[in-house]
Symmetry: C2
Subunit: 385 residues, 2 copies
């Protein structure tokens, strides 16, 4: 169970015909609880899809009754017709549930520019079908229906003292800073108001999804939403709740990394000794986005020179000639010069750990990324065909 782990929630996933494969492609998550408090964060890309433009308005009052999601089309850059499709989708769900359309969030994922009349017809009929299929056991169906190039559904649950928070996620490509083609729905039966949800969600995404940078590309549709039903009757301490949401997001982020398009290595880039959080993240991200380093990891080559060349492009506070680089436990560079032989590094396991000590301050941060592979190129060159 995932989005239906918390009391008060129902979910479903149905086949609407948006995916040529015939796989489920419309999901619905509904909050039936005594509270409908909600918070959400969206892509920081200025090119926002219609569902994001709509949902930003819906979340403004901190109340959400339902989230409807479709794969098979991003409904982005589809003009006024596309925005109307999103609006109609919310109205269709609202009518089926007896709620207001302005309390229905809409999420879409798939190709940009897809959103014609056929798309609209399928999304609307799928939304009706999804409302009919709602179930307290529907979490897996929903998680399956939001998959695009994901190879498996992604779910997680974290239990608190008398309450739970669960969630589902999709997003095998375009994982990037500021949340990228990631659709995440989290639900809890804890009694937390919209403001508390917003704080916990922002704290969690800042150190989880925002530090997952698979390929440096940021989507137009990313949405992470957190719904609270209050059905447990428990109002947890803010710290406990935020910690649980962060743990949940970290779990889902690692699942996203492990299923990133075409990847053969999951790379954990740990920056220590930084002067500030911003410095640590900037340095980590510069490595995560360096195609030469990522291609080297694909080839099981612990090319620390490319790590130094990458971090040298940042404005972070450190001396390039005082930096240590350790790859999978072997310190291959000490104070900007070769240390132990690169041949000692075993890069055959999927998990790769790159540790960079900037020797400037006490701050640490970890960025998750993947290698650059033949399969990544293949999947993303053939994606729209």
């Amino acid at each position: 169970m995932s989005v239906t782990a918390a009391a008060g929630f129902e979910a479903s996933g149905v086949v609407a015909g948006l995916k040529s494969s015939g796989a489920p492609d419309v999901a619905l998550v509904v909050n039936r609880g005594r509270s409908t408090a909600a918070a959400a964060v969206f892509t920081s890309n200025r090119a926002k899809a219609n569902p994001v433009l709509w949902s930003q308005q819906v979340i403004a009052d901190g109340r959400v009754d339902a989230v409807v999601l479709n794969s098979g089309g991003a409904n982005c850059f589809t003009g006024a017709f596309g925005f109307q499709t999103t609006h109609s989708t919310a109205e269709t769900v609202a009518a089926a549930l007896g709620v207001s359309a302005t309390d229905v969030l809409v999420c879409s994922t798939g190709l940009i520019g897809v959103g014609d009349q056929t798309f609209r017809d399928k999304v609307l009929s799928g939304s009706t079908a999804a409302a009919d299929a709602l179930s307290v056991d529907g979490g897996l169906d929903a998680a399956t229906a939001i998959m695009t190039t994901d190879t498996k559904p992604k779910q997680a649950v974290v239990s608190g003292d008398g309450w739970v928070v669960g969630g589902m996620a999709k997003g095998a490509g375009m994982l990037a800073p500021g949340l990228a083609t990631m659709l995440v729905v989290l639900t809890t039966d804890a009694d937390v108001d919209a403001s508390g949800l917003d704080s916990a969600l922002r704290e969690a995404t800042r150190v989880t999804f925002d530090r997952l940078d698979s390929d440096g590309c940021m989507s137009t549709n990313d949405t992470v939403v957190l719904l609270a039903s209050a059905e447990s009757g428990v109002a947890p301490p803010a710290g406990d709740f935020a910690a649980a949401v962060t743990a949940l997001c970290a779990d889902l982020a690692e699942q996203l990394q492990a299923d990133a398009e075409g990847a053969s290595h999951d790379i954990r880039i740990e920056i220590v000794g930084a002067a500030s959080d911003d410095d640590a993240v900037e340095v980590g991200r510069s490595i995560a986005r360096n195609n030469l380093f990522k291609a080297a990891v694909f080839g099981n080559d612990p090319n620390w020179g490319r790590v130094l060349a990458a971090i040298g492009t940042t404005s972070a506070e450190f001396d390039p000639y005082d930096v240590d680089v350790t790859i999978n436990g072997v310190r291959v560079c000490h104070a900007g010069a070769p240390d132990r032989p690169s041949d000692d590094v075993d890069l055959t396991p999927r998990a790769v750990h790159v540790l960079v000590d900037l020797k400037t301050g006490p701050v640490e941060a970890t960025i998750l990324t993947n290698d650059l592979t033949h399969d990544y190129v293949h999947e993303n060159s053939a994606y729209s065909s």
Copy 2:
């Protein structure tokens, strides 16, 4: 002819054994003219190789007698021993030519971290051999000796009114902003002082090499140097001279793009309607660095959605819903919505033209890049083996 096209210059290229292939790997360019005025620009990467650290000191007084270049090792992050190798290289060349070591620029290219005693021995003996081999016809030999993964030497000449400027370049990978693994030596017999050379060179690189961004990765060793012998006896108008240097750099930049590692398309990203130069370059670069767009071009897929998703991450002044995108002459996106069918775009030719109209101001800029291919991944995962 290239670096030996201008009167007063000699050059050579010899086999020093640095490359396992046995190909030429040490080059020398010497100014025998009545003037030894010079200017240079270097990588903006903070992780600078030993030859760059040395050469920045050499160029300070605006006089250079010779440039010695080696492939087969970057001599970067090789510690104090590596810097001493660079110093000894300059001294070896200076002794052979009867000039001061502080007037000898040194350039290296190849793997970071390579610079041991064997490397030093070969570079020094190669430098002596290169001095012995100097010739007024040695331009091609020199251009050949600086190649790494380049498949062909790169040379160009532009003629002025009674003077010429010629040059050579290497750099098939890591082409990026701020000049990337690019070694470029330009020579002229025009009578221009160091200050005039510096102005012309900076004006030229700003709109040529600095706008060539093959893979977003910046090298530790990039150097572009311009030497003037004054042997023509002609002091050209500053504007004429700068225009010639810019034309020469543009020619060499296009040769670098056409020979970028693993590329199957040369992509010219033209931004028009920008509010400022910075905006135009930022927008162009965001497309040039978007792996998803570059992989799509490899697959002959005119995926304009990825163009908009890329530019949406910038802070440039424009409305994402008022942008036009034209690919190879077909306007596939108008005002942020689909226009002509993507199927009308023919991406089978190697040359690709992406035109983005931001509709905000009068400024234009062009960024050159390449697609992301299987061969790029392969070459860069196997490079050090």
